[in-house]
Amino acid sequence: MTRKEELLQDVVIKFAGDSGDGMQLTGQQFTNNTALLGIDLATFPDFPAEIRAPIGTLPGVSGFQLRFSSDMVYTPGDHCDVLVAMNAAALKVNLKSIKPGGKIIANVDGFDNKNLRLANYPDGVNPLEDGSLDAYDLTTVDVTKLTREALKDFTELGTKERDRAKNMFVLGLIYWMYNRTLDSTIDFLTEKFGKKPGILQSNIKVLQAGYNYGDTTEAFTTRYKVEKARMKSGLYRSIMGNQALSMGLIAASQKSGLPIFLGTYPITPASDILHELSKHKAFGVRTFQAEDEIAGITSAIGASYGGSLGVTTTSGPGMALKSEAMGLAVMLEIPLLIVNIQRGGPSTGLPTKTEQSDLMQAYYGRNGECPMPIIAAATPSDCFDVAYEAVRIAVQHMTPVILLSDGYIANGAEPWKFPVSAELQPIEVKFKKQLDEGEEKFLPYKRDEKLVRPWAVPGTAGLEHRIGGLEKQDVTGNVSYDQDNHQHMVKTRQAKVDKIADYIPLQTLDSGPQKGKVLVLGWGSTYGAIKSAVAELQAEGKAVSHAHLRYVKPFPRNLGEIIRNFDKVLIPEINNGQLVRIIRDEFLVDAKGYNKIMGVPITKSELLDAIEAML
């Protein structure tokens, strides 16, 4: 049989199956394999909150979308070219996201009567057989049967254990389809199951069987290839947001000389930072799984008070629980990093779904006048830089800092041109060690030109002092209920945070002319979608520009100027309109929002429509 080989520029593939089918692992493996070839990529894992929702049902579907391209990509793609559907529910849930004429690879065994019923197909209806998928390029594969067949010699394994390797068959088949080698996954399996030779060998066997199946069956007539992307030269690795964020913290710790203390409580989608940091004891990292969210942040405050880099990580509901302690950190004026990996809210909301839900909470969600700087990550690899920068601000301005990320970038992966440590800007830390000349007494709230007070940690002889959550007299830090002093201190704490704007870079445009019709202003994980949509419109000659905020509070000094250079401002957000209100309030402009609150990222195509409507 002759086979065609076709060169593609851009592919979106989605692996979808039951949450027990191992689709996340399959997707991650394919991601890794793709990254190692120097192909640009973006991923979007999408899974249910239940660890094991009822098998075969629509709510139990877990998906992993991956876009890879020989061009630079900034989103995981609006629609997929290829859908791998392990069961009927996976097909039903994802049918609307396949491109017209797209390829469907369906596991026949997942479309038996039971699975069809669980996916709410009417009696006697099987989409694989009734012609309803004629508009697509459908290939059926009996993955379960072929997997069992491949493992028939592995007599020590039960049926359940054999069937668990199904995802390796699919992975092998897709590797064949895109001209890949199996090496990266064999290495992964060897490391994971090295001590369980039976499991290791069976997985490799099924992986190879899937690959060979592609090679021998006549169902597939074409193999595809995507070439290396034209990325900046240098060394790259694949990175996920929470992983990058953890590394940013370790890097900041190494460059500042401050040991990390992470006080935290497990919560989706932030827990992976705890998992990652707890591995790195060799860097002196201390992780403390506290009894609750409040102990998470307060233990971190205790650590910062003692001269460590106190960090706490959480998501929306945990953020709410921490708010009183954040107020304490504002009063104490000590460095602290509060990381919020946002998810759908309110209350428990959508724990595994992404949302830019907590900007208002970060801005205003505390009692009293309680200003804190806020910084937001735009992409998975950006989490590294943002974590590093957040630590710098916290330490150099003696303030708690809120870092906002979200479920989409936390779990998403992309290639990362990682830095070498020598390139990283050092973070200078000044502990007060003794009284200065002419000082008779230590004055814990005496400020420098940045309005920053000294950091004097326990163990420093002669600098014994008391601090607390009660209002303090300026300079001395003694308790004060004086009315003028309170007004002065509220203003001073605000001025201190505002002053950070003098120590951050000016805002730049990500793309587009300095003046024009429409400015698309974003923050956080909408970066890729905005960048892609704006680029397309610019290519058509439209006067659209894109600015993306890393520093959300205080804003860069020139943000107002940039905004006023455009006739209209569009602010796309995955929430009901939060930044848009703050921008209107701050700059008195008639900014418009584009808001999607469906637990999924904004797509490029819907943004194109929204921007065009303003042109």
Partner: protein, 345 residues
């Protein structure tokens, strides 16, 4: 006990006073506790700068302002959690937590039990006055049932905590009780708390003369103290009474109050052993209402229990040291690079 080196210049209680005016109500039991802490501090062998006092919210929690060490007056109920983070990162410091019955058993109850089970080497001084003082007189988790307060005009229906039993239940490695009106005993107990390596839970009966005056007077007043208070001494029989005429013996697992004489001697009595976990469980349960009709147990004071158990911060440091010893110090460039890289030319 802190591992800190002994101070070279001898200090006195005065060195531990601050320039801040003490603002507790005149006659408050907190004055005595403050004085006893200031008295023992020079003698515990820790340089002043290595002592940190962390408090929550409540009358007791103003404590740090009045003692010239490092200190933090934090937020309600969280002193224990703040102290955990501090001790985890600075094991060499001598960390003292000053808290009240509302602060540590109500709003901060969760942190208290977890601090005790983790066994950080810190000292918890729990001032128990069985009332909310700073918020002006509501009942607390240690207030007796039927108590009439501002928030319970018909009498409290809450069953009170037995703090020492709670601490035992949380596997505290040191559990003791003392009182504001017995300075010598309090100094002894503060010193013992400090000397214990691990989390010490010291309940201190403290009189709130404004909102709950006389809550503990049967244990503290001369006329009743001898009959109602039982002072525990290591290796000694449980004896009390005006003329040391009464004792407690064990009838199986049941403590029985007996009169000494008439064939009953000290040899028949329960001999106190701070290291006996099971006996300590019984001892903390001697918690009768002193007004109970028809006989009741006296209330014990002293060290109920002490045991040696690894401290959280030490094991935490050990894990780090062991990792560095076996794998070497972390290499940032190696971490950033990860396992798999590719080059774009």
């Amino acid at each position: 006990m802190s591992a800190a080196a002994a101070t070279s210049v001898p200090l006195t209680a005065k060195d531990f006073a601050t320039d801040q005016e003490v603002r507790w109500c005149p006659g408050c039991g907190d004055y005595s506790i403050l004085a006893q802490v200031q008295k023992i501090m020079p003698g515990i062998g820790v340089p002043k700068e290595n002592i940190v006092i962390i408090s929550g919210i409540g009358c007791s929690s103003r404590f740090p302002y009045y003692i010239n060490t490092f200190g933090m007056h934090s937020i309600h109920g969280r002193a224990t959690a703040i102290a955990s983070g501090l001790k985890a990162t600075r094991p060499e410091l001598s960390v003292w937590i000053v808290t009240g019955d509302g602060d540590s058993l109500s709003i901060g109850g969760n942190h208290t039990i977890h601090l005790l089970r983790r066994n950080f080497d810190v000292n918890v001084l729990m001032f128990n006055n069985q009332i909310y003082g700073l918020t002006k007189g509501q009942y607390s988790p240690t207030s007796e049932q039927q108590k009439i307060t501002k928030s319970t005009p018909f009498g409290s229906i809450d069953h009170p905590f037995n703090p020492a039993a709670l601490a035992m239940g949380a596997d505290a490695s040191f559990v003791g009780r003392s009182m504001d009106r017995d300075p010598k005993h309090l100094q002894y107990m503060l010193t013992r708390s400090h000397q214990h390596k691990g989390a010490s839970f010291l309940e201190i009966y403290q009189n709130c003369n404004i909102f709950n005056d006389g809550a503990f007077e049967v244990f503290t007043e001369k006329s009743s103290k001898a009959d109602e208070a039982l002072f525990l001494e290591q290796g000694k029989p449980l004896v009390f009474g005006a003329t040391q005429n009464k004792g407690i013996k064990l009838d199986g697992l049941k403590p029985v109050v007996v009169e000494l004489g008439n064939g009953v001697s000290a040899d028949d009595l329960w001999i106190h052993d701070e290291r006996d976990f099971f006996k300590a469980q019984l001892l903390v349960r001697l918690f009768d209402d002193p007004n109970k009709e028809g006989g009741h147990y006296p209330r014990p004071f002293g060290v109920f229990f002490e045991t040696d158990r690894a401290c959280y911060e030490d094991v935490m440091s050990m894990q780090i040291e062991e990792t560095i010893a076996t794998k070497g110090k972390g290499d940032l460039d190696k971490l950033l690079r990860g396992k798999e890289v590719w080059e774009i030319i």
